[in-house]
Each structure stands twice: as structure tokens, then as C-alpha cells.
Assembly symmetry: C2
């Protein structure tokens, strides 16, 4: 199972990181050599603002102009659990934690507007890592037209670095839930499948040259943010972002909607082929079906309503008598698993 392998790789390296305090904690200027005001003075000017930001960071709270409904979501990454110093730069992590939060806003049919960012770190963490991180985070926000609304800084025990982001968004129409898929709908995806997991496997195998684009996607996911509101406007009945793999997330959509989602393997052949040269056919299929952190969008549409940029990869039907809701591949049940923080971690 890919997620178990991932875990083992991370767990092993995480222990090393904790004991050895990798390059992000040994080179450059440690955070403890600055006071909080000095640190903020280095960080805050890099944060993007927006026209909707009525009160920018620096007061008790920020104030953001918005429409009548606000979308809110939060996602956290932890050194050694979600990334390794050796594999991702500070900028990569900034980009990634923003992207995965914004993907959740898009998956409701919304447009992201702002983020709040919290860094909890070993005071030995280098200022250079933090500034690089802020750069990546700000770039990802700028690309999406998102402002940084605020944040918090706190120190943590030796070896701990954690970044928590909360994203806000605006919703102009109705939210697209996971639970709205109906029998007769088609299942469609916007974006790649399996690339980020393939990149993780290549990093583990020290073979990044076999498919650099996959490694880049693992480091910097590219959620198709505009596709979320476009799908909502086109009448998507259910939607989510692929964070834990097609089988697991598709299963969640099926379960929430009380339907059976049937994946068409033929429609996934191109995704598998794209990874086969680097990883072999079996692993490539695993990546496409179960690979996490892709952050493409998965949605169901009434047949005939699928809009530009989405490709149909399956169908939706009612469960047969006695059949459970869930995901199947070409009509056949599959085992699926995924990342679980406390049990695996």
C-alpha cells in the first residue's frame, strides 16, 4: 500500500531529523537571535494584500470584505510527518500548505480570498528557511489572488516545525457538497492523477531524474482552483479535492451521497501510461488509484453537463439490493486505504 510505504520513509527520516536537526536548523541565523518584532518586520512586508483587505495584519485581527457567505477550512503540515527537510525547501512547503488549503475552498465551488498562517518552530530553525518559506507561501497566494490576513508565531521543542494555514473564501452560488451525487451522474476529474505520489516514490528511491515533473508536483501541487467555481456554475452535483487518493476520496463522495461510483479503468489508462516508464505499470496504477496529495478536483455532473477541462472517468449508480455504497472499478469492489495520522503516525 503506497501510504504505508510513504509513512515508513517519513518516519525513518523524521527520527533522523529530530535527533540531528537537519540543515534548516543548523545553517544560517537561528530564530532565537531575533525578537518577535524583528522577526515580524522581516516577514510581514512579503505578505500579499488585496483590495478586499480592510484591516491588514498587525492589529488584533484582520478585516476582510466579503459576500454574504464565507468558506473556511484549515490544514496543517508537520516536519517529519508531512515533509522532509532533505526533499522540500521552505518555499516548497509554503507553496504546498497554501495550495492544499485553497484546493478545499475551490472544492466547495468557492474562490479563495485570504489565509492565516501559524508557524510553531524550534527556535534553532534558521531565519533563512523561514524567509524562503514566506516567499513560497506568498507566491502561491499571489498567484491565486489571495491575501495573508494574519498569523501567529510560537516556539516549540527541539526538532519541531509545524505550519498551520486557515483559508477563507467567498461563495457566490450554492456550495457543492460531497453528498449531492445522484444515480445517472457521471464522475469527472480536473487535473492529473498519481503524479504527486509518483514524485514521492521517486524521491524515496533517489531517482528524481526519472520523472522530474512528478517530483515537482509532489513538492508543489497545482490545484485547478478556477475549475471549482466553474464546475459549480455548470451544475456539478458533488465535488471534493483529491488529497488522499482517488479510491479513498471517491469512496467518501460515494458514501456521503449514498451511491456507487464506478471508475472506468479505460479512462485512467493515459494517467497510468504517463507514470509507467518511471515506475513500472503496477506501481503506476497504484499511484493513479491510491496516490495522495494530488489536489486535483473530483466531481459528479448530470450527464451532458460536464464542462471544459473536466474529463469523465466513471459513472454513478444507485447501490443494488443489499450492496453498500462506495467506489468500485469496472463494477468490481476494491480494497482501499490511505493515510491515517494517529494510527500510522
Amino acid at each position: 500500500m503506497p501510504n504505508t510505504e510513504r509513512l515508513e520513509g517519513l518516519e525513518r527520516a523524521e527520527r533522523l531529523d529530530r535527533v540531528e536537526r537537519g540543515p534548516m536548523m543548523t545553517g544560517g541565523t537561528p530564530l532565537r537571535s531575533l525578537d518577535e518584532d524583528e522577526l515580524l518586520a522581516r516577514i510581514l512586508p512579503g505578505f500579499p494584500v488585496s483590495d478586499d483587505l480592510v484591516v491588514a495584519p498587525g492589529d488584533d485581527a484582520a478585516v476582510l470584505r466579503t459576500t454574504g457567505r464565507v468558506i473556511a477550512t484549515t490544514d496543517t503540515v508537520v516536519l517529519g510527518r508531512d515533509w522532509l527537510d532533505a526533499w522540500s525547501s521552505g518555499a516548497d512547503i509554503g507553496h504546498k500548505v497554501v495550495a492544499q488549503n485553497l484546493a478545499d475552498v475551490a472544492a466547495m465551488g468557492g474562490r479563495p480570498t485570504g489565509v492565516l498562517v501559524t508557524l510553531v518552530a524550534d527556535p534553532e530553525l534558521s531565519l533563512e528557511w523561514v524567509l524562503d518559506h514566506v516567499r513560497g507561501l506568498s507566491e502561491a497566494c499571489l498567484e491565486a489572488g489571495v491575501a495573508v490576513l494574519g498569523g501567529d508565531l510560537s516556539s516549540a521543542p527541539a526538532g519541531v516545525v509545524m505550519v498551520s494555514v486557515t483559508a477563507l473564501g467567498r461563495l457566490d452560488g450554492e456550495p457543492v457538497l460531497r453528498s449531492g451525487a445522484r444515480p445517472g451522474d457521471v464522475l469527472a476529474v480536473h487535473g492529473t492523477l498519481g503524479l504527486a505520489d509518483a514524485g514521492l516514490r521517486l524521491l524515496r528511491a533517489d531517482a528524481v531524474e526519472r520523472l522530474p515533473v512528478a517530483v515537482e508536483r509532489q513538492r508543489r501541487p497545482q490545484p485547478p482552483l478556477a475549475a471549482g467555481p466553474e464546475a459549480a456554475a455548470a451544475g456539478a452535483t458533488a465535488m471534493l479535492d483529491l488529497s488522499d487518493g482517488l479510491l479513498r476520496d471517491g469512496g467518501r463522495l460515494a458514501h456521503a451521497s449514498h451511491v456507487v461510483v464506478d471508475l472506468d479503468p479505460g479512462a485512467l489508462a493515459g494517467d497510468v501510461d504517463a507514470l509507467t516508464g518511471a515506475l513500472g505499470a503496477e506501481v503506476a496504477l497504484d499511484c493513479v488509484l491510491a496516490g495522495g496529495e494530488e489536489h486535483s478536483l473530483l466531481a459528479t455532473f448530470p450527464a451532458g453537463s460536464v464542462t471544459d477541462g473536466w474529463r469523465v472517468i466513471g459513472s454513478v449508480r444507485a447501490p443494488a439490493e443489499g450492496e453498500a455504497d462506495g467506489i468500485v472499478v469496472a463494477g468490481r469492489a476494491v480494497a482501499h486505504t490511505g493515510w491515517d495520522h494517529f494510527r500510522n503516525g
Copy 2:
């Protein structure tokens, strides 16, 4: 300096906690024995909802009905840095992290509407602690009419427990900034002064019986949430919540507004007297002037506009020729300091 003493007490115990994994990590059911879905099934039903919650936790993101401007703020607490297992229960910490976030919303003149909560924890942390924490957190939200909009769970290295909260609020009028105080205004406070710091000192001295109300305030701050919008409606010119002490926070308000804030020691005599029996006059004065974590509200009003529940404790004037902006006591400059995460931590 109170904050240095606080730090030393916490640092010492924090090291013990990390090595020994206190009761929150040794008794009961460890989190690692549940999978994430089982854990969420135990947590989510306890979270309060509200009529404005259009999409509750469980989808990619929550959706909250709001007015045209949303207030957002975030604040994080870390075991060993911000609390000790021996001194605060899970429920206390839940209450406290919510209260300190909601205080920031109130300090803008807003009404809190929702929070997002992230728990990053050692998988040895006990489920019982987490459920107690959720109880305290939910009670604090319910009292304030606030919904839990969502959250995240992640595992962390041994001994680490961290809770990060983002609070949202609605703003019906104009935000009250730190920077609006004008010469001729009066300075007023709503709520107690020094009680939370007194409680911390009594916990450190193992003398909680000397003033239980102070210890209770340290464990569970009581920000006067309604007073924020009331002050805004009454014409408050500047406002913030007292998280780092009267001198430091009052100094911030003065600096942001380019004014001199002059505290009237006579107006603080009652606050000092209330703590003198338990701590002696000198320490009591220290608590009142520099004690953190009180989360009372500090504001400036045009003379004659001070509204119910606020008491005047000083005045605002323009800096004299060559004088810096800042805070003074009875016209005389004072040294002030406070908590600094990376340098002290």
C-alpha cells in the same frame, strides 16, 4: 520581570513533560489506538453549531453566513510553552485558547461567529484529555454563541501537544483599530487587571489557596466579549485586548496612535489592593501593570463617551516636543517588557 519568571517556570516543567510524558500522555486510551474516523466520530458531535452555519464540518470546508465584512484572527498554544499539564486540564486549555481568540475579535468591535481548531499531538496523548479539551472548547464557544467550523488533526513527535485556533467574527460597524487614539481621549478598561498573572504566580508558588479566583482566571480567562461592540458603538477611538500586560499593550496602542498614554495609578489602586493580600504590594503592582493573559479590553474614548462597564484609568495626550510616543505612569516613563516567543523560548 513577571514574564521571565513565568518563562523559567514553564521551561523547567516543559523539559520534564517532554521526558516524562505527564498524565495526559500516560493514563487512559492513547490516540494511536483509534483511527482518524473513529476519533472524529468522538469529537465532532460535541461541537456547537449555529443558525449561520450553512455547511457544518465534515465536507472539504465549512460555509458560514455572514455580513459584508469578516474578522479573522488566529492564536496557538503549545504544551510546556503556554500551559503545563499539572496546572491546567484539557477543558481549561480548550476554554482558554477559544477565549483568547474571541477576545481579539471583540477588540476590533466585532462579534465572534465561528472557530476552526487544529490539534497536533503526540499519538500517546490520551483520548480522555482530548475529549475533556473538546468539552471545554465547546463550552466556551456555546457561551459566546460561536460555532465550530472545522479543524485538522495531525500527529507530532513525542511530548508535543499544540492547539491552534482561528476565530472569525462579523463586523457591523467600523473596525476599532489600535491606531485611532487622539489627544484629549480618555483611557478605559473593561474587566479585571493582573488576576491571571497573580494566578500563575500562585500556581508556581504552590499556593493556590491564597486567591483561588486568580488561579481560576489564569486557567480560564473571561474576556468581556460584548463590551467590544458596545465600545465601538459608543465611539471608542482605539481598542485592543490585554494579552501581554497593561504597560506593553497600552504602549502598543500609544505607539500605533502616535500619542502618549498616561496611566493614573490612583485608578489602579483597587486592582492592586485586590491582589496584595495574596502576593504583597510590590508583586501585586507588577501583576496589574505587566501581567499577561488577562484578556480584558483596553480602549480610548472621547472624553464624555465612556460607556457602561468601562472605567477610566488614564488619559491621552500628544507627545511633547522631542518626546517619544508611548505609555507613562503619572507622567513618568516606565520600563516595560513582555513575552517574546523565540528569544525567551
